[in-house]
């Protein structure tokens, strides 16, 4: 078949511009200080089709080019056309996808092509984009430029330098296909080998299994009963097939089995002399407290065992939430990795119960500093590029799926250069009961149900994702671990699945994420105790995938759904209507066996019990020796007004508005508090608040807390601070403190002591301390953790070059809010409002943002000291209840939590949101140290504003709670902070706005 090239470029003329080219020009200016006169873009399509090129040329304006704004041409390079490109560029870079990589524009073009040429069944289309640079400074290296414009893991680039341009030698990307692959019959893997060979087998095969786990598998195949059963089933008796070994590796991966959280830990505390055994952190500190609370409330419908935790929101609706990380893929391909992160967690919601509808997203990122000028280890992207790519991936994934991003955070620390953290969360909603009477949070499969794979096809993309993420990142990390999501294919699937749910067709559903079909069908088969899969029925993107590859591929946009045999016709019809791929590939059984066939041949025959419960418990060592951190000693003389402007420009505090505004936060028409609030809609929001049932103001609050730097002193303090921050944020929106659920997402460096990780005992002790604080605080707050996840290998490199992330807990909460018409935002509303501090400030400056800032500038030498503590959480809960109900009754409409930068930054942000000044006095707000009262980050604190006429009522309402009068909002331009008779600082509000907004605006401006 012929390949036809179609190129399209924006028309030039009055009022018209080449925005794609402009964006590249602005980003090169913003990120690298490179100023270019002009950049123009060309989009190319390579159409392999039986349709005649002449026929295609006639329809270019019907499909590829928009005749109003674009010019198109067929089988020519536009650059050689003087009409479109009258002047000669100085450099050209053209970028296309590598063969086999998801090309979403190509897929969409093909769909459109088939609308116009319905007979073109066998056509295929790939796309590329060409950038022509005019006036590129001579010192810019062309290869460097090409490298910044593409990722060689998934894309290819061709360039023309000045000489080639002058000679008219334009680079041309050609159509390529992945070479055909031969199906390989399953291998038998000999496990009767020495221990060292077992370890080598695990490492070279990317199995990520340790020796004991390999030996457990070895022992299974020595069992006489197992051998007899296998002989009877017609599969190799005394050795695993490659299908089985891969399936076990996926199912037993750290990613899927959370082996560290499930391990038996010998824990020593050198401070207290404690020497104990902890049998599973997860069961002890997370599961048990939640189950205890489940006995006391009626709204915890489903915890831990499903794809997300479900709570009853009212009599008619339940809500659920899940957060995931996608760190390793985002390090390799920030855009694709992050996009699969967000659309992946959307599927967790769709796969909850009998199917929930995703209605809101949260995104929390941890990056290296975007202005990093130090060395970068091999194979790592600059933090600004990671930031841009991750942001773009999440933006496209969320926006195109029609799910609003209502809450999030971006945190910066040098150590995230080694591994960015990309947390994506999703909230879902479902009717408590389906029309057929079934409770929607309970799956109801029985043996005999037909199991469909729904959504996309299976390809090479994403083989070994689960095991890969359980290993540290190296230069050899495989590109197949990266996938690019396709939100529209998924959106079609979501529409179809929810319709199938409402018509009662679904008995069981789960998503295909890590481990692919092996995990999804494997997990669902536990319900009926068995399944039989035929891998030959699975639709493939490319022919020739071997059985094990089909089973473990993590190709995106797939759900696994069980349907009763009599409902299959109706299910098929729905799939046809929505143009969604849906193929029956398995049947549930009750044989106790995970039985995998390829056509007639049995290729895997694993007892369900062995598959899911066979992995041996890890035995780990933990030892807490408090780290020695040089104390933070504030400088003697300080200009606090100057410090204020510098603090507001700290990336951890500065406005992220230019980034966050690129997320759709209002689709579904439910968002009652936007991410940015106030008179100019640019002050910080504390929590997301939605009213998801149209016409009904019943609300749901979504918020988060994250405080990784306290881990430098004590990971326990870090965990407590994260939880408290999430709850405080929710209180600011008026959450019902008696109906909040939490999610714990741990990201940790490798915590298993080994040659690669000599400090594993310490890192594991950090994990123990974090979880003990999690239990203590959650029990005190009556806050059940209903879902969570851990990512335990966040390191880059080895030896002296090793970079480990700071232990990081993201704590998310979602909770009931009785009426969104009565809530609060952080912006000051009018002059004369009376400001109060709720809570007390303590001498807790350890690892505070001010300490890090002054250490980095050389004005202080350490960040050590007492980090924020949470000594009496039960008292905080009483305060939170009082404040939250004050908001729910309309007494308070202005509240802001104090976190990074303490009271000083909190009040400054309230002034920014309201474009009002304020005069406050810190005298009497806590411990003697002024720095602690001004910049300290003690927990349990808020600044609230109350209208003068409601002040008495507020004081009475808060009776018995720690509140201190601070001052009032004023008409003037200044924030003035006093300490008794001493004026500490006066700062101009507009100057604060400029500092706060300027720091992270990396847009390159709009002109």
């Amino acid at each position: 078949m012929a390949v036809t090239r179609v190129e399209v470029t924006p028309k030039i003329g009055p009022g018209m511009r080449d925005v794609r080219g402009d964006v590249v020009r602005r980003q090169l200016a913003a990120d690298h200080n490179i100023n270019i006169d002009d950049v123009r873009s060309i989009v190319g399509f390579l159409i392999k089709s039986e349709i005649d090129p002449g026929a295609i040329a006639l329809r270019v304006d019907d499909l590829f080019a928009d005749p109003i704004i674009e010019d198109g041409a067929t089988n020519t390079l536009l650059l050689s056309n003087k009409e479109h490109f009258p002047s000669c560029p100085s450099t050209v870079v053209t970028v296309g996808f590598k063969a086999g990589v998801t090309d979403n524009p190509g897929a969409a073009a093909l769909d459109g092509f088939k609308t116009i040429f319905p007979t073109s069944e066998k056509s295929a289309i790939s796309t590329y984009i060409t950038y022509a640079f005019f006036g590129l400074p001579h010192e810019v290296d062309v290869q460097w430029l090409a490298k910044t414009l593409h990722n060689n893991l998934i894309q290819r680039a061709l360039v023309a330098d000045q000489n080639a341009c002058t000679a008219g030698q334009w680079p041309a990307i050609e159509y390529t296909e992945k070479p055909p692959q031969e199906f390989e019959a399953p291998l038998h893997v000999n496990m009767e080998i020495p221990d060292q060979d077992l370890i080598d087998l695990s490492e070279t095969g990317l199995l990520a299994l340790n020796l004991e786990e390999m030996q457990t598998i070895q022992a299974h195949y020595r069992d006489a009963d197992v051998r007899a059963a296998r002989t009877a089933a017609g599969i190799v008796a005394d050795a695993p097939t490659d299908v089985e070994l891969e399936c076990l590796a996926q199912t037993w991966s750290e990613h899927c089995k959370h082996k560290i959280f499930a391990s038996k830990i010998h824990h020593i505390d050198t401070e207290t002399g404690e020497d104990t055994i902890i049998d599973s952190i997860f069961k002890t500190y997370i599961m048990k407290p939640t189950h205890d609370m489940q006995n006391e409330v009626d709204w915890l419908l489903s915890v831990f065992h499903d794809n997300s935790g479900v709570i009853a929101w009212d009599d008619d609706w339940s809500v659920c939430m899940k957060a995931e990380t996608h760190n390793s893929p985002s390090a390799l391909d920030p855009y694709g990795g992050a996009m699969t992160g967000i659309v992946g967690v959307n599927r967790d919601i769709l796969g909850t119960g009998l199917g929930a509808r995703p209605i809101a997203n949260t995104d929390v990122f941890c990056f290296g500093p975007p202005d990093w000028e130090g060395d970068l280890p091999d194979n790592l992207f600059h933090p600004s590029r990671v930031f841009r790519g991750v942001h773009a991936g999440v933006r496209v994934g969320g926006n195109e799926s029609g799910i609003p991003t209502v809450n999030g955070a971006i945190v910066f620390d040098d150590r995230y250069i080694g591994k960015p953290l990309v947390y994506c969360g999703t909230i879902g909603i479902m009717p408590r009961r389906l029309p057929d009477g079934r409770e929607s949070h309970i799956k109801t499969p029985v043996a005999g149900d037909i199991v469909y794979m729904v959504g996309g096809k299976v390809g090479y993309d994403g083989i070994h994702g689960a095991t890969f993420s359980s290993l540290e990142l190296t230069e050899e990390s495989p590109s197949s671990a990266v996938q690019i999501g396709d939100p529209i294919t998924q959106k079609k699937m979501v529409d179809m699945v929810l319709e199938a749910r409402d018509t009662g067709l679904i008995t069981c559903i789960t998503d295909n994420g890590a481990g692919g079909l092996s995990s999804s069908i494997g997990e669902m088969a536990e319900y009926t105790n068995g399944c039989e899969i035929d891998l030959a029925k699975v639709p493939l993107k490319q022919a020739g995938l071997s059985a094990w590859e089909i089973l473990v591929s993590e190709s995106q946009e797939r759900m696994t759904i069980a349907v009763k045999a009599e409902d299959c016709a109706a299910f098929d019809a729905l799939a046809t209507l929505h143009e969604v791929e849906a193929t029956p590939v398995a049947t549930f059984t009750d044989t106790g066996i995970f039985h995998v066939k390829y056509e007639a041949a049995t290729v895997a025959y694993l007892p369900i019990e062995f598959l899911h419960d066979g992995v041996p418990q890890l035995q780990l060592e933990s030892e807490w020796i408090p780290p020695k951190v040089e104390a933070f000693v504030p400088p003697q003389a300080a200009n606090h007004a100057d410090l204020m402007l510098r603090m507001l420009a700290r990336p951890n505090i500065a406005s992220k508005e230019t980034w966050v505004r690129q997320y759709d936060h209002e689709v579904i028409a439910q968002t009652a508090i936007k991410p940015f609030v106030g008179v100019k809609r640019d002050g910080p929001g504390d929590a997301g608040l939605i009213a998801p049932i149209h016409g009904d103001p019943h609300g749901l609050v979504i918020s988060c807390g994250i405080a990784p730097r306290y881990s430098d002193i004590d990971a326990g303090a870090m965990a407590a601070a994260s939880i408290d921050e999430a709850v405080r944020n929710a209180v600011c929106a008026g959450v019902d403190v008696d109906k909040i659920a939490g999610l714990d997402n741990f990201c940790w460096p490798d915590s298993i002591e080994s040659v690669k990780t000599p400090d594993g005992r310490f890192k594991l002790a950090q994990l123990v301390r974090a979880n003990r604080e999690l239990e203590r605080v959650c029990r005190a707050y009556r806050l059940p953790c209903v879902s969570g996840k851990d990512s335990m290998k966040n390191d880059y490199g080895t030896g002296e070059k090793k970079i480990s992330i700071p232990p990081t807990l993201l704590f998310s909460v979602f909770g009931d809010q009785p009426d969104v018409r009565f809530t609060a935002t952080s912006d000051l509303k009018q002059p004369g409002e009376r400001l109060y501090l709720v809570g007390r400030s303590h001498n807790e400056l350890g690892a505070s943002e001010i300490s890090f800032m002054l250490k980095e500038s050389g004005e202080a030498s350490g960040v050590g000291g007492t980090p924020p503590q949470l000594e009496h959480p039960e008292r905080n809960l009483a305060t939170y209840r009082a404040l939250s109900t004050a908001i729910q009754t309309g007494l308070i409409q202005t509240a802001h939590d104090c976190s990074e930068g303490g009271v000083g930054v909190a009040v400054a942000e309230m002034c920014i949101g309201g474009r009002l000044g304020a005069t406050i006095d810190l005298d009497g707000t806590g411990d003697e140290n002024l720095w602690a009262r001004l910049w300290g980050e003690s927990l349990g604190r808020f600044v609230v504003a109350v209208k003068p006429e409601k002040e008495h009522e507020f004081i009475a309402w808060m009776s018995g709670q720690p509140i201190t009068f601070l001052g009032e909002a004023v008409e003037g331009p200044n924030l003035t902070i006093n300490d008794g008779y001493d004026e500490i600082l006066t700062a101009d509000v507009e100057a604060m706005v400029a500092s706060w907004q300027g720091a992270l605006d990396m847009t390159g401006g709009v002109e």
Partner: protein, 283 residues
């Protein structure tokens, strides 16, 4: 008085504002149903069953090859006759955001200088000058002399935009002059500091007053009959005052009282009420 007008709210292929668009019609006395595009294409359902058609916002086909283009093509090629009959029957159509882009690319908007559509594309919506998709609130002003039945009585409103391709362009100034003469430039971005009724200007406003660099600050246009209307901003997303950013400042605008939402009706709902009332009165 007829019973509740039946509203077809299209969905499928990446449309994603279908739920709220259906909900707002129901709040003002419509009887809205989400109908998959393929149900109309296959003939299983017919547009004849409905009195109002809404093409909601979203990312149909991922907006690849230009926003609204692939969905526009499906409608232009597969639904041409049904759409022609719908317009000929004098039934209102609205396209919001991606739906507006779809109607422009099918040629329904701004349409020919004639009452019936010819499915020729005359305008386009292209990438914002900023190069960014953005969700932000803007101020809109309506042309009181517009024949548009959707915007009757509306003067100015706050409304969110959420798009990356909202810059309205046409090939020449005479194209705009012709539309302006017919008052088809129904709604434009304006500076909220201007007096109500005098905010409209042909001079491009700076970002972010105009979020996208639209020619003549155009936010939405109608056809010559005033029945077919499209706009980039999202009126359905301000159906209630609690969705307005100023509601915690007690300054969210909107009617003091409505049957639908008491004191909490937002400014956007009137647009949908106008169409429902029009159908009740005229069809």
């Amino acid at each position: 008085m007829m019973s509740a007008p039946k509203v077809a709210v299209l969905f499928g292929f990446g449309i994603n504002c279908d739920h709220e668009t259906a909900a707002v019609f129901n709040l003002v006395g419509g009887d809205a149903e989400r109908v998959h595009v393929n149900h109309f294409i296959s003939g299983e359902r017919s547009m004849e069953e409905f009195q109002i058609l809404a093409v909601p916002g979203g990312f149909s086909f991922g907006d690849h090859l230009g926003s609204g283009r692939l969905m526009g093509n499906r409608m232009r090629f597969a639904l041409r006759d049904q759409l022609h009959a719908f317009v000929a029957a004098g039934k209102p159509i609205i396209g919001i955001c991606n739906g507006f882009q779809v109607l422009v690319k099918t040629g329904l908007l701004p349409g020919p200088n004639a009452p019936l559509p010819d499915f020729v594309q005359r305008a386009s919506l292209t990438l914002n000058d900023s190069g960014r998709y953005e969700d932000r609130w803007v101020t809109l002003e309506f042309d009181g002399n517009s024949p548009c039945i959707w915007t009757k009585g509306m003067t100015r409103m706050d409304c969110p935009v959420r798009h990356g391709e909202g810059k309205f362009v046409m090939p020449s100034t005479t194209d705009f002059d012709a539309l302006a003469a017919g008052h088809q430039l129904t709604v434009r971005y304006v500076d909220p500091a201007t007096e109500v009724g005098s905010g409209m200007t042909d001079e491009p406003l700076p970002f972010p007053l105009s979020p996208n660099g639209s020619m003549r600050n155009i936010a939405g246009v109608c056809d010559t009959t005033g029945l077919v209307f499209g706009l980039m901003p999202h009126p359905e997303a301000v159906y209630a005052k609690w969705l307005h950013p100023d509601h915690t400042r007690n300054t969210a605008p909107g009617p003091e009282h409505s049957e639908a939402l008491g004191a909490w009706e937002g400014e956007g709902l009137q647009m949908f009420r106008n169409a429902v009332e029009y159908v009740k009165t005229n069809l």
